[in-house]
């Protein structure tokens, strides 16, 4: 517990205030692109928010859950855990952007949008009602559209932003419609109250359509099939740090809301008569994993490959929901999903930031362009190797443990075939991840690429992500407790 109670929302507030500070700074001096100060404010703000959320998590503020504004906001272990993910990714991205945005215009707007999106994500994790969830989702999404299109003069970026926006609008509509149907059945928007009235509700058809449509909204945010179409384009067109931000933090935000709404508002034993959403998630998980990994295997463009692999990873995390069959330890598998998102937050962000580094150097986009890069930038390539292998699930980084937890949880819940599909997909993913490693370390370097400068903050961000990824392998034991407890608290 914490007094005053509203202080429990501090991580969100800190992010929002940081955005306002950036507004104020830009209002005072709109023409200048004072890069260090802007990046500094953003990094300090997100680090402060991270510090607060870690401190809350450790101090046990979320246990028991703090309910604010009549249950509109719920700050519990899961919310804080996810806020740690968002804020750390935001900090890394802001840090890396300092070099990436060098000599570009509208930098203040970039950082403002970044922090507003982070605020929205943080709010999503703590949303206690469907309405707050929807508003928070929009708060996270709208700045994202702008960020994807940030490179205005770049056709790819502008196009990706527009596509993202259109698909996003469609998905939001589906989501909002789903919420309205759920409200129609349950008569409430508070997810606790929804849980109470959906049990044996009168109109199973209406509820079922509503639940599936809400699920569709989450699928959009998490880039799961069939709402994933925006993802490859948006990730490829966006500035690389933004791709990192979207594919890590934004995806995690979608899962944060999905985990809470699906488990709390629609407890499976209560709604199974209307809609067996666990089965739906299982289908989505399998299709998402398979489609993401198979499509990634045929890409020639590294950034696009990572985009599809990010879709694949959404499929892995969906196991966290798909294995809530009622048998086995639900807290274990849901917690495993959260842990995977944490690890993924670092390794995937790091991988995209490495792409940002490559773009900074003017290295091309295909695998072949990465040939021999290790000779020019060995340190960064070591980091990238760590990311790739950790993403594939080899025991060089935390990705191994979190995947292991996920698959173990799935087996434990009796859906061993999900784990099997996941394992097969992991094996396939090793193929395309190792292509990057092979290109960097084994192939002969291509002519004409000149790695002349070593941007310090971009490097720092990549290396930090790599170190955390590696450290999480042994240190995950410390975090996993929080995740499992938080997950169990949400479930029961």
């Amino acid at each position: 517990m914490i007094t005053p109670e509203w202080a429990a929302a501090a991580p969100t507030l800190v992010l929002g205030v940081t955005a306002l500070v950036l507004f104020a700074f830009d209002s005072i001096d709109p023409e200048s692109s004072n890069n260090p100060v802007l990046a500094g404010i953003a990094v300090v703000g997100s680090l402060a928010a991270m510090g607060v959320s870690v401190a809350y998590l450790v101090a046990g503020v979320g246990d028991p859950a703090v309910e604010l504004y009549g249950g509109q906001l719920v700050v519990d272990g899961m919310a804080l855990f996810f806020q740690v993910i968002f804020t750390s990714v935001t900090a890394l991205v802001a840090l890396a952007s300092y070099d990436y945005l060098e000599d570009m215009r509208h930098q203040a707007e970039y950082y403002i949008l970044l922090l507003l999106a982070a605020t929205g994500m943080s709010l999503m994790a703590a949303a206690g009602s469907l309405a707050v969830g929807f508003v928070a989702l929009e708060l996270a999404s709208l700045p994202s559209y702008g960020l994807v299109a940030f490179l205005k003069q770049n056709r790819g970026s502008a196009e990706a932003g527009l596509k993202y926006f259109l698909i996003g609008a469609l998905s939001s509509a589906v989501f909002a419609y789903g919420i309205s149907l759920v409200y129609a059945v349950s008569g409430s928007l508070l997810i606790d109250a929804v849980a109470g009235s959906v049990r044996n509700a009168g109109q199973p058809g209406v509820l079922g359509v509503g639940v599936l449509m809400v699920l569709g909204g989450f699928a959009f945010k998490t880039a799961s099939v069939p709402f994933h179409f925006w993802a490859p384009e948006a990730y490829e067109g966006a500035p690389a740090p933004i791709s990192a931000f979207l594919s890590s933090a934004s995806k995690a935000a979608g899962f944060a809301l999905a985990f809470r709404v699906m488990t709390v508002a629609f407890p499976i034993e209560g709604v199974v008569g209307a809609v067996d959403w666990v089965l739906a998630v299982q289908v989505l998980a399998v299709v998402t994993m398979t489609l993401g990994n198979f499509a990634a295997a045929t890409q020639e463009n590294v950034k696009r490959m990572l985009a599809y692999s990010s879709v694949g990873h959404a499929g892995y995390v969906l196991i966290g929901l798909a294995a809530l069959t009622g048998t086995g330890d639900g807290g274990l598998v849901l917690g495993a999903g959260m842990i995977h998102l944490l690890v993924y937050g670092f390794m995937n962000t790091g991988a995209f930031l490495f792409i940002a580094l490559a773009e900074y150097w003017g290295v091309g986009r295909t695998f072949a362009d990465y040939n021999g890069l290790a000779r020019r930038a060995p340190l960064a390539c070591v980091a990238m190797t760590v990311f790739m292998f950790s993403l594939a699930g080899l025991p060089v980084g935390g990705g191994f443990v979190s995947k292991y937890y996920l698959f173990a949880g799935a087996v434990n819940a009796g859906v061993w075939w999900l784990a099997l599909v996941g394992a097969v997909n992991s094996a396939l993913s090793l193929f395309y991840y190792s292509r990057v490693v092979k290109a960097m370390w084994i192939e002969e370097p291509a002519e004409g690429v000149d790695v002349s400068s070593y941007p310090s903050t971009l490097y720092a961000a990549v290396i930090t992500a790599a170190v955390v990824t590696v450290v999480l392998l042994p240190a995950l034991g410390l975090f996993s407790g929080f995740a499992f407890d938080a997950a169990a608290a949400v479930l029961f």
């Binding site: 306002l20 507004f23 104020a24 830009d26 209002s27 005072i28 709109p30």
Partner: protein
């Protein structure tokens, strides 16, 4: 009891069949005389000029957006003023006044930023500038 969905299904079917059949029948019966005037855009009898796709000045959107923001602000402030006195009595000054001040403060920051960044400064498009320059 027959299933009510049957009636809905029948209605859907009929509502699809009628327009489709009308289009098909007329396509079969009518003579085909293509003519330019038939394909032209109908603008209340006026002779159409230019393209349908016109770029409006972004400034319209800017002003519209700012208007929407403050419109909604007003919508929120009105009920607040109505209950303000009761609220102060019941919850005290801090609980009643401060949230609204924060809310307005945030909006002010946004407005100031938009103002400083030229959202309310009317910028002529390059074409407009060019025509203006040529008349002088």
């Amino acid at each position: 009891m027959s299933n009510p969905w049957i009636a809905i299904g029948a209605l859907t079917l009929v509502s699809i069949i009628i327009p489709v059949s009308m289009v098909v029948v007329s396509a079969l019966l009518r003579p085909s005389v293509p003519e330019q005037g038939k394909t032209a855009v109908y603008e209340s009898g006026e002779v159409p000029t230019g393209d349908t796709r016109i770029r409006f000045n972004i400034q319209y959107y800017m002003v519209a957006l700012l208007f929407v923001v403050f419109d909604i602000e007003t919508v929120l402030i009105f009920p607040w003023t109505v209950i303000y006195r009761d609220g102060v009595q019941q919850f005290g000054m801090a609980q009643t006044l401060v949230p609204m001040l924060v809310f307005i403060g945030v909006l002010v920051v946004g407005l100031a930023w938009a103002w400083r960044n030229g959202a309310v400064q009317w910028v002529k498009s390059t074409r407009a500038r060019d025509t203006a320059g040529s008349t002088e």
